[in-house]
Symmetry: C2
Subunit: 297 residues, 2 copies
C-alpha cells in the first residue's frame, strides 16, 4: 500500500479520516493536527509567554517536540513528584528532550518544596486526586509568579473524550462548560491550553516512536486502578465500530457545551497564598497544611 501523499510504502493506516501514510507524512499529519487546533481555537497569541508542562510521558514530550518544530518559543516545567525511581526516569526524559530542542526547562521538586513526595502523605484522599491538585496548583502558580501567560499540557483526544463521556454518563456536568482545548485566563488563573486535543493516544505513541522521542512508558504505581482507564477502554470499543466517533463526540461537545453553563461562584483570595480560592484557604494550602505561600527558588 502506497502513502496517500508520496510514492513511499505506507507504514500507518489511520481509520478516520481514512488514509495510509508513510512515516514522514504521518508525522506531518500529526503536526498539522496540532497546528489546526492551535489556529482554530486561537490557543497561542502573538507574544505569548508560553510554559509547557512536561511529565516525562509520551504526550507532553511529543507536545514540546511538535511545538518546537512548529516554531513556537516556550519554556518547560517539569514537576518532580518524588516517587522514587519512577520520578527519576521522568525527570531524565524531560531533561533530554529540552536539551535536544535547546529550550530552558524548569524543575520543581515537590519533596524539597513540601517536605514529602506524592504517595508519602498520610491522608484518606486517593493519591491520584491530591497529585492532580498539587500539579495543577504548581503549574498555575509557577506560571503566574514567573509572568507566563499560558500553560500548555499534553491532554489528548482519548483523555478528553473519556473525561467528558464519564462526566455526562454520571451527570457531573457543572464544570463541563469550561472543558475544552482552551481555558481563558481569569483572575490569577493563567490561561490553559491543550494543543493535542485532536490527537489520539495511539497516534502520539507512534509519533514518539518515529521521532525517536525517549519517554517513560511505565505507568505510575499509583495510577493502576484509575477509573478513567475504564471509560477509555469503552470508547475504544465504540471507536472500533465507528471510526471517528471520539473526534466527532468531542467536536459535538465543543459546539454544544454552552448548554452545561452553570453560574460562576464567587472566588476570594486564599489567606495563605493569595491565589483564588472558594474558601478562606485554597484546597492546596489546606491539603499541604501550609502556613506560608509556596515559593519557587
Amino acid at each position: 500500500m502506497k502513502c496517500k501523499f508520496c510514492n513511499k510504502e505506507a507504514e500507518v493506516t489511520i481509520r478516520y479520516p481514512r488514509m495510509h501514510l508513510c512515516e514522514n507524512h504521518f508525522k506531518e499529519y500529526c503536526e498539522n493536527r496540532v497546528k489546526n487546533v492551535i489556529d482554530k481555537h486561537r490557543l497561542i497569541e502573538k507574544d505569548e509567554k508560553l510554559l509547557v508542562a512536561v511529565s516525562g510521558g509520551k504526550d507532553s514530550l511529543v507536545l514540546a517536540y511538535i511545538l518546537n518544530k512548529l516554531g513556537y518559543e516556550f519554556e518547560g516545567l517539569h514537576i518532580d513528584l518524588g516517587i522514587e525511581d519512577y520520578s527519576e526516569m521522568c525527570k531524565k526524559s524531560s531533561k533530554k528532550i529540552f536539551s535536544e530542542i535547546g529550550l530552558p526547562l524548569h524543575i520543581v521538586k515537590i519533596k524539597k518544596l513540601l517536605g514529602r513526595g506524592i504517595g508519602e502523605v498520610k491522608t484518606r484522599r486517593p493519591v491520584c486526586s491530591y497529585c492532580g491538585l498539587t500539579k495543577r496548583y504548581i503549574m498555575n502558580k509557577f506560571a503566574y509568579d514567573n509572568g507566563f501567560t499560558a500553560v500548555a499540557t499534553g491532554h489528548n483526544l482519548d483523555d478528553e473524550s473519556a473525561f467528558v463521556f464519564s462526566n455526562i454518563l454520571h451527570w457531573n456536568i457543572d464544570y463541563l462548560s469550561k472543558q475544552g482545548p482552551l481555558l481563558e485566563a481569569e483572575d490569577k488563573f493563567v490561561k490553559k491550553i491543550k494543543p493535542l486535543y485532536e490527537l489520539r493516544d495511539k497516534e502520539i505513541s507512534l509519533y514518539a516512536s518515529f521521532a525517536k522521542i525517549e519517554h517513560v512508558t511505565k505507568k505510575c504505581k499509583y495510577a493502576r486502578g484509575a477509573t478513567s482507564i475504564k471509560y477509555k477502554k469503552f470508547l475504544d470499543i465504540l471507536e472500533k465500530d465507528n471510526p471517528g466517533i471520539k473526534l466527532n463526540f468531542i467536536r459535538g461537545f465543543l459546539r454544544n457545551r454552552k448548554i452545561f453553563k452553570k453560574k460562576d461562584f464567587e472566588l476570594r483570595e486564599c489567606e495563605i497564598c493569595r491565589m483564588p480560592s472558594q474558601g478562606k484557604r485554597c484546597a492546596f494550602c489546606r491539603f499541604w497544611r501550609l502556613k506560608e505561600p509556596l515559593m519557587f527558588q
Copy 2:
C-alpha cells in the same frame, strides 16, 4: 440463597439494587417498580381514558398484564403491520392476553387501511423508519379520534437509556428535552406514557416467563441491523462493570434534561388529516400519499 423477603429459595438475583428474590417477590418487585414510576411521574390521572399499545412482544404484553394487575382500567390497541406470519403471531399473542385479562382490544390492520403492509412500500427510506412513523401516527390518531386521554407503550429502561445515550454521543440533542416517561398532551397529540421506564429488558423477560405470558420472541425480519441494538450492547458492557449505571444515567438525564431545551417550532394543521404538522402535509400523509384522512372503522 434465600429470598430477601421470605423463606423460599431465591430464583433471581438483581444486581442493582442488589437482592435475591423468589419468583413471587420478583414479580412484586417488578409491579412495584411500575407503580412507582406511575406515581412519581404522575403518568395516569384519575378518570384517565387509557389506551395501551401492544405489539405482541414481551414488553407491551407485560405492560398490559401489570397495569391490569395494578387495577387500572384500559383498552388495548394492536396494529397489524401486515408482515406475513410474523404479524399473525403478534396478533395472536396480543389477543390472547386481552382475552385473559378480559379487557377490549382494538385491532388496526395497516394493509387494509393503507393498501400495503410494512415492507411492501417502494421507498428509499429504511423500513424501521417508516414503520415507526406509521405506528406513532396511528397510535395517536386512533387515541385522539376515540377520545382516549393517554397512550401507554412498552418502552423499557434499555430502550430509553440507549436512545438518550446514542443521541448524546452524536449530539442529536434537539428533542431530548421532551424525552422521558411522560410526554404531556399538546394540541391533537394525546399524552404518551412509558410505565416500564425503569424495568430492564431481562427483568421483563423473566417476568413474562414467571407470569406465563405468551409472547413473540422472534425478531422482526426488518429489525436485524437496527443501530439501537449496538448502543444497548455497549450499555450492557458498562452495566456489567457498574451495576445500576443505566438506571442512574436515565434518572440523571431526567433531572438535567431541561438543559436540552430548544425553542418549540410552530405547528400547523395537515391539509389532509388536520392533525398537527410541521409542513402543509404531515409526514404520515406525505409518506402514504393520502388524499383523504385515515379513518378507523
